[in-house]
């Protein structure tokens, strides 16, 4: 059980830093096609920002509720990734061959680019939720059962 940190410096800095880290995580996630970065690093940065908010404001703070809700998304990232592969099969091609994504008005290379973005989002969600859930199971006694049972 992590309680709220009692230093006002940590609170003020946390309020300033956490949104910046989240924006940077999204930037890394979506800029991974043009520079260094990608789904894995973006997901870890997004997860770290949520872990930071739990470490600073405690488990019971109102802004930690959304982090607890994020625990329910375990497996959603994998579902997105495999779902993109399934859509490719519905489009009439091989599993994860993004050229078969059925989107009108896009040429083959743009379809593959879009497929890369979607699967990177899947990886990012999976990694972020895994990082949060490991931290929660390391730090909390009954928080996981609470958030799952009601």
């Amino acid at each position: 059980m992590i309680r709220q940190h009692d230093s006002i410096i940590v609170h003020t800095l946390g309020r300033f830093v956490i949104p910046v880290v989240q924006i940077f995580g999204l930037y890394v996630l979506f800029f991974g096609q043009y520079g260094p970065g990608g789904g894995f690093v973006g997901g870890v940065i997004l997860g770290s920002s949520m872990i930071l908010s739990v470490l600073i404001f405690g488990h019971d703070a109102s802004r930690s509720q959304i982090v607890k809700k994020a625990l329910h998304a375990d497996g959603v990232g994998l579902l997105i990734f495999a779902g993109v592969g399934g859509l490719c099969m519905i489009g009439g091609g091989e599993f994860l061959n993004y050229a078969n994504l059925e989107i009108p008005g896009l040429e083959t290379a743009s379809r593959r680019s879009l497929g890369i973005v979607l699967t990177q989002i899947g990886v990012a969600v999976d990694v972020a939720v895994t990082a949060i859930s490991i931290v929660f199971s390391l730090s909390a006694e009954e928080i996981i059962e609470d958030s799952i049972n009601g």
Partner: protein
């Protein structure tokens, strides 16, 4: 004359690695390990592997340190000093021998940035030449990971998912 910054970097790497092993306190060892990861990410960046450097900095120096510290606070809140027995004679013989063997094998590796090394002539030129036309993705690493090798990446994601589930199941506390 350009100052060779690689030598202090590798020296710092060695010092932090040795410090993380030799230090007497678990907390200091964890923090030194984070510092080691940070210097290692600088080394990856120096080699030109920016994506790997990014992951090393975020996971090794950031998330790994947090996980280690949380484990430390959850297990031994008071006494984190290490009681380390002196190494046995076998360790003192085997590990220098292993290190010598690895260095001996490393001398046979191809030259760094060698365009005719086996790794650079097999399939890398195809990726470098065609990945932009194929996928409209300027970052070749992302194109290879997410498009040409997407099934591998998906199984990697499965591994991460399984690791998270295993952590939840193993670390779950019983509720009364």
């Amino acid at each position: 004359m350009i100052f060779p910054f690689e030598i202090p970097l590798l020296l710092l790497l060695l010092v932090t690695a040795a410090g993380a092993i030799l230090v007497k306190d678990l907390m200091s060892a964890v923090l030194l390990l984070g510092t080691y990861s940070f210097f290692l990410s600088l080394v990856w960046g120096w080699f030109g592997a920016v994506d790997v450097a990014f992951v090393e900095a975020v996971v090794g120096a950031g998330l790994g340190t947090v996980l280690f510290l949380l484990t430390l606070f959850g297990t031994a809140p008071k006494d984190t000093r290490l009681h380390r027995p002196p190494p046995s004679l076998l360790t003192l013989i085997v590990f220098p021998l292993l290190g010598f063997l690895l260095l001996y094998a490393a001398s046979d590796l191809p030259e760094f940035r060698d365009p005719s090394s086996p790794a650079s002539v097999h399939i890398s030129p195809t990726y470098l030449e065609q990945s932009y036309q194929d996928t409209h993705t300027p970052n070749v690493v992302t194109a290879v990971l997410m498009d040409y090798r997407s099934l591998d990446t998906m199984v990697e994601t499965v591994v991460i998912f399984a690791a998270g589930i295993a952590c939840i199941l193993l670390l779950r506390r019983q509720v009364k």
